[in-house]
């Protein structure tokens, strides 16, 4: 896949949708495209965060350590972004991400990601929107879980 194809793909990701193509090209150029084999780990829960990943192709599972071992809490597929929380909040990775079958990602290094966010506030806004949506989703689940418990 060439740089231009990667740019096309980035355009289809909501948080990048409003960014000029030339900026996306810079993002793609300064990022590393990585292939993972089935079961290979992108990062482990507890690692320090040095990069965010955009899924270009394939699927990955998000795993959380529990007392009963790892459980899958979500699946990621083409166009999803993962790992940005550890970068933004400077906290250890909150989950393990593992490739399912073969996976291709674009690895955006911490510095490049910050650069992008500071240079293009609209990306920050998009990320906020995304995070808020996830929070809202979590809240909804929490409410549902609590009402289940009450009921």
């Amino acid at each position: 896949m060439s740089l231009n194809e990667e740019v096309e793909l980035l355009k289809n990701i909501p948080i990048f949708a409003k960014i000029e193509p030339s900026k996306l090209k810079l993002l793609a150029f300064t990022s590393e495209r990585l292939n993972y084999a089935d079961g290979q780990v992108l990062f482990n829960q507890g690692d320090s965060g040095d990069a965010a990943y955009i899924i270009i192709d394939g699927t990955a599972s998000v795993l959380i350590d529990t007392d009963d071992g790892k459980i899958e809490v979500a699946q990621l597929s083409k166009g999803d972004i993962v790992g940005e929380i550890a970068i933004l909040c400077d906290v250890p990775r909150t989950a393990t991400v593992q490739a399912k079958q073969s996976l291709t990602t674009l690895k955006i290094a911490k510095e490049a990601f910050f650069r992008l966010v500071t240079d293009f506030p609209q990306i920050a806004v998009e990320i906020m929107r995304e995070l808020a949506a996830r929070l809202e989703q979590t809240n909804m689940r929490l409410r549902a879980a609590l009402s289940d418990k009450d009921g």
């Binding site: 090209k25 810079l26 300064t30 990585l34 510095e111 650069r115």
Partner: protein
Amino acid sequence: MEPTIFRFIFRHSKKEQIFLLVLTGLSFPFLYYSLDLPKTIINQAIAGKNLPQDIFGYQIDQIPYLMLLSGIFLALVCINGGFKYYINVYRGQLGERMLRRLRYDLYARVLRFPLPHFRRVSQGEVIPMITSEVEPLGGFIGDAFSLPAFQGGTLLTILIFMFVQDPILGTAAIALYPVQAYLIPRLQKRVNELGKERVRTVRKLSDRIGESISGVQEIHANDSSRFALANFTTMLGEIYTIRFEIYRRKFFIKFLNNFIAQLTPFFFYSIGGVLVIKGDLTFGALVAILAAYKDLSAPWKELLTYYQRKEDSRIKYDQVVEQFDPAGSLTEAQQLDEPETPVSFNGPVALRNVGLTDDEGEVLLEGVSFEIAQGEHVAIAGPGGGGKDLLATVIARLVLPTSGSVTINGVDIAPLPESVTGRRIGYVGPGAFVFSSTIRDNILMGARHLPFGEPDPSVFPDSPEQRADAEASGNSLDPISANWIDYQSIGADENGLKDRIAELLKVVGLEDEVYAIGLRGSLRAESEAEIANRILGARVRLRARLEELGLAGLVEPFDAEKFNTNASVAENLLFGTPVGDDFALDHLASDPYVRSVLDKVGLTGDFVHIGRDVAATMVELFKDLPPDHEFFAQYSFISADDLPEFQTLLQRADRVGLDGMEAEDKTRFLELPFKLIPARHRLGMISEELQARILEARKVFREELPAERQAALEFFSVDRFNLAASVQDNILFGKIAYGQADAGNQVGKVVAEVVESEGLRAIVIEVGLDAEAGIAGSRLTAAQRQKVAIARILLRRPDVIVLNEAIAVLDSGLQAPILSRICAEAEGRTVIFIAHRARLAQPFNRILVMSGGRVIEDGTFDSLNQEGTMFRGLLNEE
């Protein structure tokens, strides 16, 4: 050292100086006759008196007579010239030898300075003294006696000749000499004083420069450049004032001399003229006197200059020598002599009432007495400034105590030569020095005390003639080409030495690091073919192993027939490793041969096109970034500085088309494609068709490479070792694939595994040992330097090992295990460990605690680890 330069000259070159004097004396009769001859030529041969001449019974007419005399004159000119030439060469050689001796003496003295003295002298002062300040002394020493003798003699010869011709004119010629002889020393005296002052100021100047270089970080960090410059200006101003004053005075002296010299002919013309007119003096005699007077001014001037040089040299010598004789220096015998009977330190170390006071009278050590049994391992702890580190230097005889004594095995160590203390004691301080040589040489330094075997005459300067010169200059006659390794002290022969060093690397925890250095290092050209072959074996094995593990995709191997998408276009074209700058990346586009290859396969146009496209992409991507943005360095093909230029080039290309551009502009574009790594940059510009053509260019490049440039490139070849590439690259023989997660790590692990299974680890370590440590060991970390220094002393198996906070810079987690390995290695030998942290003393059977320059506690760890002891206090502080 001799207190004055003349004593130095006399002591070391008496014979040569006398020989020169005799030679000079021999030359005078010829000189005299060559002065006298013109008179005979003019008065008799040319004027035609007393002709024909009767010579040895032959009657000779005027013309042949003139020719004969002229012939004799010519012969005399040759003889005089010959004398001068021989004397000058001899003198020059003598001067150089004496200079060589002086420098050698000074350097030998520096090596004998008592260590505390180095706190008072600076490198900036000592170095110019040995290098530049003494330089003019060599020339002077050659001239010291022979020049005044020769010039004085010449002067005298000419004067005698003049007096013989006419006493009045002779008197006239020297009438003003007393005036000069009175005035000039007086004027010179002030110049001498200024000269002394100049030397001192210049030393301070070089000291200041040295200090600025050592402290440059502080200057930057505190923005004190302006202050430093102002300070420097002050010193330059001082030197300028002094020098200017010297010049003024020197030139006044010169003026005076010249003036007086010009004045004398006045007497010749007036008095001599009258004498000729009256007929009291022949015309020929006047001409000869005038000619002689012309010759007279040269030696007289030389004598006056000699006088100035003599004064200069005398001062310089005094000023240098007084700096090189500090009290408490080792004697020459201590520096060089072997002990008459072997001294063993295989016994107790005993200190009796040891005291140490510094120059200012401050007491650093006081009444230190204890005894350490042979083979005992003792730790000395104590607060900083308590004297424990100084005590270590005293035990190692690096510093002499001001009172009391240190004996080892019953022998007082103070008067012993270093051939005992520097071999039987092993000392490592807190900031050990690593010299700019290989790691191996730095370790072997521990056992390089004296030469063994015969010199190799083919090695400079060990041929018999060169050795004779060294001997005549009083230099060291230890041949540098002999074997300097003391195998006996190491306890191993040549083969055992390798294993021994490998073992020591493990002891000091340096093995893995040297291994890593070795992987990045390259084999030396003269390495054995067998080693190269085994590394080639590892190359095959690695491939197989990667296949087995299903990791083959992580490395794209070099293949003569295939384009390697993980290598740059340049690497793909050259298919080899550049040796030197010839085929370096930045030179390729302008290299005529590379260009001719591109032309031949019709790639030039494509490359310019691609270059234009790359430039356009770079401009598009990077134009909005600030010039100092880190992305430029990390990712861009074009530096921030060059970006505007490429913008202009692109506009020009749009306007006139690529074909219409100047050749120079095209070359700028042509530089870019070489840097492309298709798999990494993913610009999609190197199509498969283009790859095929680059392969074609690769073939042409290889086949037609001119013989004289073969050496500039080491081609990749699957079955040959590439000397220009690192060991790791040779094993890999390919590129780690971009875009494969964790590829570098995984491949690194397999490489390590293959190196191990092929039994190559020892070889890689050997390569690592041959790596350069850099200036002052700068390529090694501080911890690595410390480890090298410890291995250095362990190598020669000293009886007493003194570790003076030697492991303080190591990672704190590694200190205890390394220390315990060192102690195990030193089993049966005495170890004195100065603990920078009291906790490290725990494994030792006996612990001394020093505070305020005294031993205040002495016991086992448990006996000292009690309420109220200083040792407990130290432990609690950690």
